[in-house]
Amino acid sequence: MSKITIPFGPQHVALKEPENFMLVLEGEQIQGATVNLGYNHRGMEKAAEERTYLQDLYLIERVCGICSHSHTTCYITNVEELAKCETPKRALAIRTLFAELERVHSHLLWLGVAGYEMGFETLFMYTWRDREQVLDCLELLSGNRVHYSINTIGGVRRDVSAEQKAEVLKRIDYLVERTNYYIKLATEEPTIFARTSKVGMLPPEEALRRNAVGPTARAAGIARDVRKDDPYLIYNELDFKVITHNTNDVYGRLVVRALELVESYKMIKQVLNGLPEGPIAVKVPMRIAPGEAVNHYEAPRGEDIHYLKSNGTDKPERLKVRAPTLANLQSVQYMLEGGWMADVPLVIAAIDPCMSCTDRAVVWDPKLGKKQTYGWAELRKMAIERYKRRGVDFSRLG
């Protein structure tokens, strides 16, 4: 059996990320995997030092389009802590509302991507169609479908009116119904189980050792969630469960995300029905007194942590962002090794990566001395074909 090295980084239809994974194959099985990053490096931390705190709000939002609210809220929490300002309760509640709406849109997005990777395109179309309801809510409340920029230093930019609240609740009721269907699908459909069970195994000791976060860790039974462990915004007043599963595989990650959707709907209803009265923002001076702050936030993908140092001017001294996917990448290496080529797209998709992509896979067989080029789409197709031959076929599900 010759060893084949595949530099693997997708040019993607549904997963928009460039992580370059180097896979060493022995036949069909993966012997070794390394993770190479940096395709998305833009130089934001340096730029942040040259912009004011308010300008940085809009810069930090664009660390990631899918979890933009996570980054601005974590950043603004740091700024407000250093400025020693009392953010009004109503503003915190509105931020929480957006946080959970973001989690819903992100998990639905992921469900669709996972379905697409498995070859279950109908699931992709269903979930993304339903996701439009959430984007409608976000657009209604903030003015934009993505990058809602609802935060400002000292509070939020816009208030929630009674009509908007009614519209959002209506859509959430629709989504609750649809999500129950997805949960049923995820837990009862044998084809999904066949593609995801025992795939991408990450036992709890390894998850802890490699500092995995978010649903990836919770699928290994690790009950860690920043919303419960170190509550921020108004999470200490909301009633919700931390969802874990114990199968340590992609199936577990699927179940965890689906059930987290249910908890998010619960929280959105609680926030909207209990919005505290009061102003939506307080004035904060442009110059922030010297100090340091660190805060973390449970983004849809896991713990997002920010560090901020102020120096008395209107620009930060140092701003550090560690997005959740970086913490999960070391675990991916472990999950890939010992697995099968056919499982690669799904395992990588299962950590819900938030980076950015485009490469082709080059397969070199040293024995034959030939080079062959594959794209992620071809690898995905090959994976689906391989599973079809084993009787796992989504096309009959329509």
């Binding site: 928009k16 460039p18 833009r42 130089g43 340096k46 389009g65 993304w128 950015s356």
Partner: protein, 145 residues
């Protein structure tokens, strides 16, 4: 409804195949591009099909401010596309680097790496804007003929 008529007209004449490339974007534009495929916007009914291989594509849709690491790959992909080919720079980042203009890790704006045929502003772009951009692009090509 006028746009729909025009679309139907030339979708009979031409069915543009697009290749999407993320040159270091935050994914905001990318998920809106993918959104264009989903049932609410459903560009496939206009014949716009997303392809995965450069050799099959007519339009290269580029999102992102073009990070240093991606610039060479972007150029390579463009060079592999057969004529006639067009480039659509999507989002504020694609047009000018957007909020990343001034960052050391980017060559701001797709036009500094590839010749751009159409710019689509927005942060992120709306799916309707993407469809509109494809229409305008095709119309301008038809016009030239």
């Amino acid at each position: 409804m006028k746009i729909i008529d025009k679309l139907i007209t030339w979708s009979l004449l031409k069915s543009p195949w697009i290749l999407h490339f993320n040159s270091g974007a935050c994914n905001g534009c990318d998920i809106e591009i993918v959104d264009a495929l989903t049932p609410r916007y459903d560009v496939e009914r206009f014949g716009i099909v997303q392809k995965a291989v450069p050799r099959h594509a007519d339009i290269l849709v580029v999102s992102g401010p073009v990070t240093l690491q991606q610039a060479k790959r972007l150029r390579t992909i463009y060079d592999q596309m057969p004529e006639p080919k067009f480039v659509m720079a999507v989002g504020a980042c694609g047009c000018s680097g957007g909020v990343f203009n001034g960052c050391y890790g980017v060559i701001p704006g797709v036009h500094q790496t590839l010749p751009v045929s159409v710019y689509v502003p927005g942060c992120p772009v709306r799916p309707e804007a993407i469809i509109d951009a494809v229409v305008k692009l095709i119309q301008s090509v038809e016009g030239k003929k």
